[in-house]
C-alpha cells in the first residue's frame, strides 16, 4: 500500500468523511431547532410495518424491518448522518489520524468510548463489551449475519474500560461503514452463556439505546419503552410501538384513519401517493431509497453472452413509461447501481435511450435472425429467456408484463416464471439457476460503495466464490479496481475508482438498471423529528429524536 506523501495525511483524515473535511463534534447530531420538545418522554408513537420484526439480536441474520427495532434498542460505536458523515455514538470520537485513532497505514484502530453509558439493566457499558461483540461476530458457533471486515480484526486489546484497540490483517476501507451497522451487545449477559444462538436475550434484548424492551405480542405488535437514562439526545416519547400490518392496503388505511402515527417499511404504495399527499393532518414525503431496481441477468447464460443482446434488451425497455405510468413517476431513472445521493455516485454515465429501432438494429447487426415464430436465433441459441420475481409484488409484476411485451416487439421471448419468496431467493437465486430476475438490490456496504461481494469474480457462489455475485458477472478490470479501492483510504481517490467501476458495469450491462426506488413515507403532522437517512436501511433510525409537538 503506497500513499503519496502529499496525499497521505489527507487520505487518513478523509477516512470516514464524505465530502467536507473537518472536526466532528459529538454534538453534531443534536436535534433540529424545534422548540416544543417535551421535558419528559410523553405519549406514544405507533409505527406501522408490513413485515414483522422477529430477530432482536442485532448480530444475527435479519431483515430490513428488524433494523428499525435494533437501532432504537442498541447503539454502534459510530453512526452515520443523512449526509453520510460518521458520528460518534458509543465512541467518544470517531478515530482519525489527528486524534491518533488510526495509524497511518490504516492497520491500527483505537476507539475511545463514552464513560456515561449504561445497559438497560444498569450495568456500565465498557470496552469489554466491544471486544466481546467483535469476537462473537467471528465465533464460528455463532449465527452472525456478516463477518466481512470483522474477519480481518486481530489482537483486540482492552486498554481501559473506555479504550479499545485492534489491528487489521490488511487495510480495509469500508470497515468504518460496517462498524456503523455493528451494534454492541452486552458481555455480562451473553458472555456466560454457552449457546448464544438460543439465548433468552434474543427474545428480550438488553441494549444501550434510547428505548428499552417492553413487550411483544408476536404476530401483532412490539412495544418499546423510553430509556430515561439514555446517554444521547432523547427519547421524547414514552412508548414506541411497532404495529405489524401485513397488508399494505390496510397499512395505508390505518395511516389514513390515524391508527398508526408513522408508516415504516414498506411504506405507502405508489398508487396511493396522489391521495396521500393531500391528506389533512398528515405529512407525506417522497424519500429516495438506496435500493436500485434492475433486470438482473445471469451473465453465464448463452442468451446473454452477446453484449449486443444485453444492449438490445436494455434499449427495448421503456423505462420512463414504467416509471411514469406504473410507478406514478416516483422513482428516479438511473444508470448506476449506486444511489444518486451516494458520495461515490457517478453522474456521467451514458443515458439510456428507449428505442425499439435501435434494439432491432443491434440484433440485426449482430446476426440474430428472426425464426418462423418471430423469435430471433443465432448459432442455435434461441433468444428466449425466463424472468422471475417474487409473486405478490403487483407493480413489479405489471412492469414485468410490460417489458415482456416490449421485448416481444423486437423478437425476444421473455417468459414469466414468478415464484414464492422462499423459493425465489433459495438456490434458484444463490446458485444462479435463473435466467433473469427483476429485483431491487442495495449494492452498497453500509454507506460505502464497495461492491466486491456483488461484482467480483471471486464472489460467485455457484463457482465456489464467497460473495453474492449470483449474476456471475466477470470482468478482470472490475476485479482489480475493486481490490484497489478496498485498500486505500483516500475517499476522493476511491471515488474516482468507483466511478470507473460504475462506467464499466454500465457498459457491460450485467444488470439493466431501471430506477432508484423512492418510498412514500407519511407521518402525522404533530410528530416531529422524523428525518430520512439514505445511509441507513430503515427510517426509524433516529426514533430517539421523535416527539409530539406540544
Amino acid at each position: 500500500m503506497e500513499f503519496s506523501k502529499m496525499n497521505r495525511r489527507k487520505a487518513l483524515t478523509m477516512l470516514g468523511l464524505t465530502g467536507a473535511a473537518g472536526a466532528l463534534s459529538p454534538n453534531l447530531l443534536v436535534s433540529p431547532a424545534f422548540a416544543a420538545k417535551p421535558e419528559e418522554p410523553t405519549g406514544q408513537i405507533v409505527v406501522g410495518v408490513s413485515q414483522e420484526p422477529t430477530v432482536f439480536n442485532p448480530l444475527m441474520p435479519r431483515i430490513e424491518v428488524d433494523d428499525g427495532v435494533h437501532l432504537s434498542l442498541f447503539d454502534g460505536l459510530v453512526r452515520i448522518s443523512p449526509d453520510g458523515e460518521f458520528m460518534p455514538s458509543l465512541a467518544a470520537e470517531v478515530p482519525t489520524i489527528e486524534n491518533s485513532g488510526l495509524s497511518e497505514d490504516g492497520l491500527n484502530w483505537r476507539f475511545k468510548l463514552r464513560d456515561d453509558v449504561t445497559w438497560h439493566d444498569g450495568e456500565p457499558f465498557t470496552a469489554e463489551d466491544v471486544k466481546f461483540t467483535l469476537e462473537l461476530i467471528v465465533d464460528p458457533n455463532f449465527r452472525s449475519w456478516r463477518t466481512t471486515g470483522h474477519d480481518l480484526v486481530r489482537d483486540i486489546e482492552v486498554v481501559s474500560p473506555t479504550e479499545i484497540k485492534w489491528r487489521m490483517e490488511e487495510p480495509f476501507a469500508p470497515y468504518m461503514s460496517i462498524l456503523v451497522e455493528t451494534l454492541m451487545v452486552p458481555k455480562h449477559i451473553l458472555g456466560p452463556l454457552e449457546d448464544r444462538n438460543e439465548a433468552p436475550f434474543n427474545q428480550a434484548p438488553v441494549g444501550t439505546g434510547a428505548f428499552k424492551w417492553g413487550s411483544r405480542r408476536a404476530g401483532d405488535n412490539l412495544e418499546l419503552v423510553a430509556n430515561t437514562d439514555y446517554f444521547g439526545d432523547g427519547p421524547y416519547v414514552e412508548r414506541l410501538i411497532f404495529k405489524y400490518i401485513p397488508d399494505l392496503t390496510v397499512l395505508y388505511t390505518q395511516f389514513k384513519s390515524g391508527d398508526i402515527d408513522i408508516t415504516s417499511n414498506q411504506y405507502i404504495t405508489p398508487d396511493n401517493y396522489a391521495e396521500a399527499k393531500d391528506l389533512a393532518g398528515k405529512e407525506v414525503t417522497v424519500v429516495p431509497s438506496s435500493t436500485v431496481e434492475s433486470v438482473f441477468l445471469n451473465y453465464e447464460k448463452p442468451q446473454f453472452q452477446d453484449k449486443a443482446v444485453r444492449e438490445a434488451i436494455y434499449a427495448a425497455i421503456d423505462k420512463q413509461t414504467i416509471i411514469d405510468a406504473l410507478y406514478y413517476g416516483l422513482p428516479t431513472p438511473t444508470e448506476s447501481y449506486l444511489p444518486q445521493q451516494s458520495f461515490f455516485y457517478n453522474p456521467d454515465l451514458p443515458k439510456h435511450e428507449y428505442s425499439i429501432e435501435k434494439a432491432n438494429t443491434l440484433l440485426d447487426d449482430a446476426g440474430w435472425e428472426r425464426g418462423s415464430d418471430g423469435i430471433r436465433e443465432k448459432d442455435g441459441v434461441r433468444l428466449s429467456f425466463g424472468n422471475s420475481t417474487t409473486s405478490g409484488n403487483h407493480l413489479r409484476e405489471q412492469a414485468q408484463q410490460f417489458i415482456q411485451q416490449s421485448l416481444g416487439d423486437v423478437g425476444i421471448e421473455m417468459t414469466i416464471e414468478n415464484k414464492p419468496p422462499a423459493v425465489m431467493w433459495g438456490e434458484y437465486w444463490t446458485q444462479s439457476q435463473f435466467d433473469s430476475v427483476i429485483v431491487g438490490i442495495v449494492f452498497t456496504t453500509g454507506a460505502d460503495a464497495d461492491v466486491t461481494v456483488r461484482f467480483s469474480s471471486d464472489a460467485i457462489p455457484v463457482q465456489g466464490g464467497r460473495g453474492s455475485n449470483t449474476g456471475q458477472y466477470k470482468n478482470s478490470d472490475v476485479d482489480d479496481l475493486l481490490e484497489e479501492a478496498g485498500r486505500i483510504f483516500d475517499q476522493e481517490k476511491r471515488k474516482e475508482i468507483y466511478a470507473r467501476v460504475q462506467e464499466i458495469v454500465r457498459d457491460d450491462l450485467p444488470l439493466l438498471p431501471l430506477f432508484q426506488y423512492a418510498t412514500v413515507r407519511g407521518h402525522k403532522e404533530g410528530l416531529k423529528g422524523v428525518e430520512p437517512n439514505i445511509n441507513t436501511r430503515i427510517d426509524t433510525w433516529n426514533a430517539a429524536q421523535y416527539y409530539w409537538d406540544q
Binding site: 405510468a325 409484476e397 408484463q401 410490460f402 411485451q405 414468478n418 414464492p420 423459493v423
Partner: protein, 292 residues
C-alpha cells in the same frame, strides 16, 4: 355371453329414466344453459371483441366498464378485461375439466383396486388416501407449485394430484358393496381376469356416483385454480385465468372495484353451473351421498 349381460344392462336404464329425470330437473337445466352460454362466449367471444387479451395500453389503464370499446373496462396495464375474461375462461374451464378427468381417473383406479382386492391392498391404498386427505390441500398445491413452472398443464396436474381422494373413497365404498354380488362371482367363476372384472364389470355399475363426483370435482378444480392463481402461484401472466385476474385486485378495491367484481362473478357463475348440474345428476341417477 359376459357376466354383465346376466345383469340387467345398467346403461339403458340410465339412459331412459335417469336422463328424463335429469332433463326435468330445473336447476340442472339452468346450469346446463349457463355453462353452454359461458363456453360459447369463451369460444366465440374473443373473435368478436375489438381488443386482444394481451394488448397492453398504458394510456387506457383502469378504464371503468363501458369506456369506449372496453365493455368491462381495463386492468392495471390497460388490457381489455372482456377479452381477458373470455380467454381466461378457456384456460380456467379447460384446467377445471382436465383436472377433473385426471383426478377422476386416478381416484377411480385406486378406488376400484382398493375395493376389489380388499385386505392388505385396501389398507395400504386407503391409508394413503387418508394421508392425502390429512393435508390441507393448499399445502400440497403450494409445495408442488414450487417444484415446477406453473404452466396450465402443470397446474392441471397438481390440482388433479391433490383432488382425487374423494372419488377414490366413493368408488372404493361402491366396489366393496358390489364385490360379493352374483355377477362378480359369476365373472370370477368364468375365469375372467381381475382387470376385466374390475373395469368391465364393476365400473359400469358405478358410473352414476362417479359422474356426480366428477361434476363436483370440476367445480372444486375451478375454485382451486382461482385460489392459487389469486395468490400468484398458479397460471402465470400474461396468460389470463379467472384466478390471476383477481390477483392484485384487492389492492385496487377502492379505486377499481370492477377488477375484483367481474372475474369473481364469472367464477361463481361457472362453479354454480357445475354444482347445479351435479345436483341434477345426483337426483336423476339416484346417487346416495352425504347430506351436503
Amino acid at each position: 355371453m359376459t357376466a354383465a349381460d346376466i345383469q340387467t344392462t345398467p346403461q339403458r336404464w340410465w339412459h331412459s329414466r335417469g336422463f328424463r329425470r335429469f332433463a326435468q330437473h330445473r336447476l340442472a337445466m339452468v346450469g346446463m344453459a349457463m355453462l353452454f352460454l359461458l363456453t360459447l362466449a369463451c369460444i366465440v367471444g374473443p373473435y368478436l371483441l375489438p381488443y386482444d387479451e394481451l394488448y397492453i395500453d398504458l394510456r387506457a389503464r383502469f378504464s371503468p366498464p363501458m369506456t369506449d370499446d372496453h365493455y368491462l373496462g381495463t386492468d392495471p396495464l390497460g388490457r381489455d378485461i372482456a377479452a381477458r375474461l373470455l380467454m381466461a375462461g378457456r384456460i380456467s374451464l379447460l384446467v377445471g375439466f382436465f383436472a377433473m378427468v385426471l383426478s377422476t381417473a386416478i381416484g377411480t383406479v385406486i378406488g376400484v383396486v382398493a375395493g376389489y382386492y380388499g385386505g392388505k391392498v385396501n389398507s395400504v391404498l386407503m391409508r394413503f388416501v387418508d394421508a392425502f386427505l390429512a393435508f390441507p390441500s393448499i399445502f400440497l398445491l403450494l409445495a408442488l407449485a414450487a417444484f415446477i413452472n406453473p404452466s396450465p398443464v402443470m397446474i392441471t396436474i397438481i390440482i388433479a394430484v391433490t383432488g382425487w381422494m374423494e372419488v377414490a373413497r366413493i368408488v372404493e365404498a361402491e366396489v366393496k358393496s358390489l364385490r360379493e354380488r352374483d355377477f362378480v362371482l359369476a365373472g370370477r367363476m368364468l375365469g375372467l381376469r381381475n382387470t376385466h372384472i374390475m373395469f368391465r364389470e364393476l365400473l359400469p355399475n358405478m358410473v352414476g356416483p362417479i359422474i356426480v363426483a366428477a361434476t363436483l370435482t370440476v367445480a372444486r378444480a375451478i375454485l382451486l385454480e382461482a385460489y392459487i392463481s389469486f395468490l400468484g402461484y398458479g397460471i402465470q401472466p400474461p396468460l389470463p385465468s379467472w384466478g390471476n385476474m383477481l390477483n392484485g385486485a384487492q389492492q385496487y378495491l377502492a379505486t377499481a372495484p370492477w377488477l375484483a367484481i367481474i372475474p369473481g362473478i364469472t367464477i361463481t357463475i361457472a362453479v354454480t353451473s357445475f354444482n347445479f348440474i351435479g345436483d341434477g345428476l345426483r337426483d336423476a341417477l339416484d346417487v346416495r351421498t352425504d347430506p351436503a
